[in-house]
């Protein structure tokens, strides 16, 4: 053994480890400690910040009060072809200033169900070859008709698209009503409209959809979704795009129309009497759902949700309170400690 050692020593003069900070575990380091000043000051700063934030949020959400429960619209009709209209009257007590948005709101509609979420073909919606893209999708059972004709767009999401049409009328006086001008495009994400959704290319839209049929629940094929606007038709129809962006929760609202600021609506919706004219197509009673129409203005922080404001206020209050308690405990203990030392 000795022999071997001495040979080894000749080969490499020393087996002494390097004296590097890394190997000796002496890397320079910042050693933060949970000391009283840091803890307490962070509690108070954060608590106060939260309180402030909460108050701001609550103040900024002013009103978004117009909510119509459409229970009246319920119908026990299972007849898809039958067109059905209804009207809802309501009165605005105050002006709704600024941007006004019209939403439809669904309850108990499980757009976030796993199989529902998967039931689409992104390739198809990107305008790629229908037959190929359908093959690789999980659109079942809304992939093809029994006779083999592919569905465009395929899948449960597209098939269940919200297809009520809602119009809003404003009563200038008790007898004359004018239709409130509403914008139907520009309501979706830019990336969806311009990247994620594309119509199949052909000389015109109807020929692009040749060889496919509409989803079973639809009343008209995709290339007729908006006959007035070429840039809002087919897959790139805003209503369709918005519907295809599935919601995270079973209760959700989707943007339907925006107020066009023209004429007397330049500043928003004036106070007065209004009527919704609704073409009822979308059945919700079957799954015990509800649908609502919502008119809303928006603040900088987004929608009409008080949650964040309240959460911030409550958290802020609790944190500040906790800060006081901790301070008290700390001071009490410190006194005791100094006492011990003597």
């Amino acid at each position: 053994m000795k022999n071997k050692n001495s040979q080894g020593a000749q080969e490499c003069p020393s087996r002494c480890p390097d004296n590097s900070a890394f190997k000796q575990q002496k890397l320079p380091a910042w050693k933060p400690k949970l000391a009283a000043p840091t803890v307490l000051s962070s509690f108070f700063t954060i608590g106060l910040f939260c309180l402030l934030m909460g108050i701001c949020l609550i103040l900024y959400i002013n009103y978004s009060d117009i909510c119509l429960n459409c229970s009246k619209l319920r119908e026990n009709s299972s007849n898809w072809d039958k067109e059905c209209n209804c009207t809802v009257h309501f009165t605005l007590q105050e002006n709704m200033l600024g941007n006004v948005f019209m939403y439809y709101r669904l309850q108990n509609f499980y757009q976030n169900h796993r199989r529902y979420v998967l039931s689409r073909s992104d390739a198809q919606l990107l305008g790629q070859d229908v037959n190929v893209s359908i093959q690789n999708s999980s659109c079942e059972p809304f992939t093809t008709y029994p006779n083999g004709t592919p569905v465009a767009p395929c899948g449960a999401i597209a098939n269940s698209m919200f297809n009520d049409s809602i119009q809003l009328f404003y009563y200038l006086n008790s007898s004359t009503a004018i239709e409130v001008p509403l914008l139907k495009s520009g309501n979706s994400w830019w990336s969806d409209k311009n990247v994620k959704f594309r119509n199949p290319t052909s000389y015109n839209l109807s020929s692009a959809f040749a060889g496919t049929t509409r989803p079973p629940y639809w009343q008209k094929p995709a290339y007729l979704l908006d006959e007035e606007d070429e840039r809002n038709n087919g897959y790139i129809n805003d209503d369709f795009i918005i519907w295809m962006r599935v919601s995270a929760f079973p209760t959700f609202r989707n943007l339907y129309r925006r107020l066009s600021h023209t004429n007397q609506f330049a500043d928003g919706l004036p106070a007065g009497n209004y009527t919704f004219h609704i073409t009822y197509n979308f059945p919700v009673t079957k799954f015990k759902g509800q649908k609502q129409v919502v008119l809303s203005t928006i603040t900088w922080s987004g929608g009409s949700n008080l949650f964040l404001g309240i959460a911030y206020t409550v958290s802020g209050a609790v944190i500040v309170l906790a800060g006081f308690i901790i301070t008290a405990i700390h001071l009490k203990l410190r006194k005791k400690k100094t006492y011990f030392q003597r």
């Binding site: 803890v39 499980y110 995270a248 943007l255």
Partner: protein, 1174 residues
Amino acid sequence: MPLSGFKFGKKKLKEEERYLQANNRDFNLEFEYANNSIKTSKYNFFTFLPLNLFEQFQRIANAYFLFLLILQLIPQVSSLSWFTTVVPLVLVLAVSGVKDAIDDFNRHKSDNHVNNRPVQVLINGRLKDDKWMNIQVGDIIKLENNNFVTADLLLLSSSEPHSLTYIETAELDGETNLKVKQALTVTAELGENLQKLTDFNGEVKCEAPNNKLDKFTGTLTLRGEKFALDNEKMLLRGCTIRNTEWCFGLVIYAGPDTKLMQNCGKTTFKRTSIDRLMNVLVLVIFAFLALMCFILAIGNGIWEHDKGYYFQVYLPWAVGVNSAAYSGFLMFWSYVIILNTVVPISLYVSVEIIRLGNSFYIDWDRKMYYPLNDTPAQARTTTLNEELGQIKYIFSDKTGTLTQNIMAFNKCSINGKSYGDVYDMAGQRTEITEHTEKVDFSYNRLADPKFVFYDHSLVEAVKLDDAATHGFFRLLSLCHTVMPEEKKEGNLVYQAQSPDEGALVTAARNFGFVFRARTPETITVVEMGETKVYELLAILDFNNVRKRMSVIVRSPEGDLTLYCKGADTIVYELLDSSCGSLKEETMEHLNEFAGEGLRTLVVAYKNLQEDYFQEWHKRHHEASTALDGREEKLSELYEEIEKDLMLLGATAIEDKLQDGVPQTIETLTKAHIKIWVLTGDKQETAVNIGYSCNMLHDDMEDVFIIEGNTSEEVLDELRTARKKMNPDSFLDSDDIIKFENPSTKSRILPEEQANGVYGLVINGHSLAYALEGNLELELVRTACLCKVVICCRVTPLQKAQVVELVKKYKKAVTLAIGDGANDVSMIKTAHIGVGISGQEGMQAVLSSDFSFAQFRYLQRLLLVHGRWSYIRMCKFLRYFFYKNFAFTLVHFWYGFFSGFSAQTVYDQWFITLYNLVYTSLPVLGMSLFDQDVDDRWSMQFPHLYEPGQQNLYFNKIEFVKCVLHGIYSSLILFFIPYGAMYDTVRSDGKAIADYQSFALMAQTCLLIVVSVQIGLDTAYWTAVNQFFIWGSLSVYFAIIFTMYSDGMYLIFTASFPFIGTARNTLSQPNVWLVIFLSIILCVLPVVGGRFLKSQLMPTISDKVLRKIRAAKKQPPPPLPKTRLRRTSTRRSGYAFSHQHGFGALIMSGRNMRPKLPFTTTGMFSPNSEKNKHK
């Protein structure tokens, strides 16, 4: 030949007997004996992949992921894409595979190194250089001085007289003293004659390969005559040839059949307690997972029944699903897939990486590097690090571990005058330091330059021709069994049987009485430059009963003298009544020496009358040739002549402790580590060392000595001891006896507290009783009450039994430290084995888990590396379980809002990358760099070690806390975004409550929260930590922006459906408000809780940390050095090896050469010189 080999190969199942013929390869090949190549590697190039994969899938975690993968391939169940499981699985398999491959490659390398060592083999009448691996059974090979023995050989002949061969068996059994092997006379005749050797065709019949190192039986048949073979004629692989120019041997066992390889055995696979806990926790997590899935499956059944059934208008049930119950059943498995991340596959890999990293730190530590023999510390097992932070019991060997096994002649008392202390001008005794002037021995040409002595007055006395002093040293130079070796003129080397003897002879040599040579009849001594040849008439050898040895010599002047040295208690009985006052003075000095922990011997002489001696000598000759009762007759004769001795003085030898041993033991004791010394040495020596290294001290209430000779006596002694230490505990002893029946296999004993500090010394034979069935419990209870336990005269097996005993009854982590082969069993048994490298053989090191050169490095290994490893591992586990629970449980809550449809909250890519990319490096960084206090403070405050022993940082309760913390965080992480996003739109009226935005928001919240949490857990922010934490967050954002980009979508439409989500969502102020609120709500309670805990219920480490912070201003003072001086008197160990002496061998002259190069004897061989220079 291959044909016949094949024929036998099938039949050869178990070898009953070995039969071989020398120089007949064809014949021997028929038996298919293994050749001399060894193979410790597991795989080769082709078998690596299948074998390694097979092994890896035997691990539960990997098999579980394979199962998941199969589940995911079932379309009805699959809730996640296959890549979420495959990517981590492949990565994990690859990392483990690479590690195994490297290990195996290293084994191949070391195999190759050994297999390719050169050796000379006799083939066709000529010596041929060949490689070790080509040696076959039945070959004759030639070995030279300092060669390693190639295989297990039958010694045929050697260069030495009587064909003796000296070997060192350090690698085999750890003993460094030389052993003698002797060939049969019939083979010794072969000598160096190659022709004769080639013609040698002896046939050997012997036992099949086995692992008994000390036993061999066989017969050699030569020319029809049979000769018995035993172990005395065997050279075993692993030994080294010493002092022998050359020797020839016949290969009996080769390669894997050799006793060394047979002894290697299968190393038991050690696991740490955290490993075992982890396995339990993984099972608990499985149960938890099953419970969650069950709840969700029930939920799904109800939902499908209540709502899903009606929702079929828009979402028909999947093909084949016809009832809500069946859907629930499928959903159970879908949720198993989704929630699988609670059992994180990367856990095991990360744990391995952390341990490996922390092992490297041990290898790299300069403070554990011993420059004198160039030995760095080494972590030989890389899977036990955190256990180092939990040690409660240390079992230590004595010789070579606590002591250097170097004896130094330290003091002496000659004719009533004590020498060895140094006095200053004022006559005060002073400490001996490095600067104390050493005695200059340059006047003596033959002096040993390594010998150090400080007291100048002794040299003066020698120079003044003081008769007593001369007599004293003359005795030391004559009365011993040391063999001299003089390879070069004037360069004397002593081969001593025990280091004590060597020290005494060396001392005499330096003071001018140089023992130069010996023959069976003479001893040549150079006395003050004048060569004198004494006639050696008799050696009255040492044994355990006599505790002394004597020689009878005739001086050149013709005077007959008996010189005797021995243990004081014995020799004092034999002294002549005339030396009364000298006796007392010497006794005083003896007490003083003993008090300092020195090993003492008393020396005396007696002048003999010629006629009396002649008569005695005759009787002695008769007795030594007597056939029966030889031993008794001899000892009677010895008694007769060894009386009325004249006292000369006493010697004091220091059994040198290794540097820093007392301080280390003190520090370890402060860390509440109990130290047990297990030694094969005598009780006196062991106790003595116990005192000198501060384990036993006079402040102790009592030191119990257990030396009963029957089991009743032992029981009685143990009980008395325990009664004294803890009177209350005795009452429940009846109760204890009950569970000693074998039905209850093992029971963990509760900790008991003694009412003071006690020590326990137990003897080997008493230990044998105490280790028997019904006494072991008594032993454990008593021994564990004591602060220090010393077991002396224990066998290697008993060492292991003691360790096993503590392992069995105490829930404690044990560490065994030793340096010799006799410690191997204990090292293998203990949870952690530590080998002292660079002293005795390599066997202890080879079977150890950690090795270093000095005992004092143990405190650094435990208090610094062990503690850090433990803390790091615990922090890692706590964080790891937390982050996975927080991550996974969000899915659980989301189930209640998504119809229990196994919808994931996060993007699938996030699920894939979360553990592997986004959160792996920060936690690894923490587990590799974190330190709560630096090394100096951990040594300064050994109390910091205690939480580890009590397993406070990670246990089942801590785990539950982590899980609860994870559940809390997951609640926040789900419900804050939920509340904020519920029924909400963006500031421009567009969507934000959609699934994809919610997923992005939830995962961003989660990732930032866990990053902040790791920041909070990190106590030591190095640049690397900063880089990992910030880097991981940046990588996350870089990856999501890439994956959600237009380009990725257009190329891989199906894989990245989240296009545009990042830029649309993360640009919203309220999204960031949600993230901020989630972080605050997740982290602030933790901050507050930790702060309050450290204030209200400070742990030991909190208190120490506070103290450290207070003392931070000034650097820590150096460890206090306590000089050990005991006032009490204690009979110290006498300086003899306990083996029977070499006396007989010397007197027979068997080990002497007829022709001697310089003087009269010495093992000079030119070849050995040559080898040295090679």
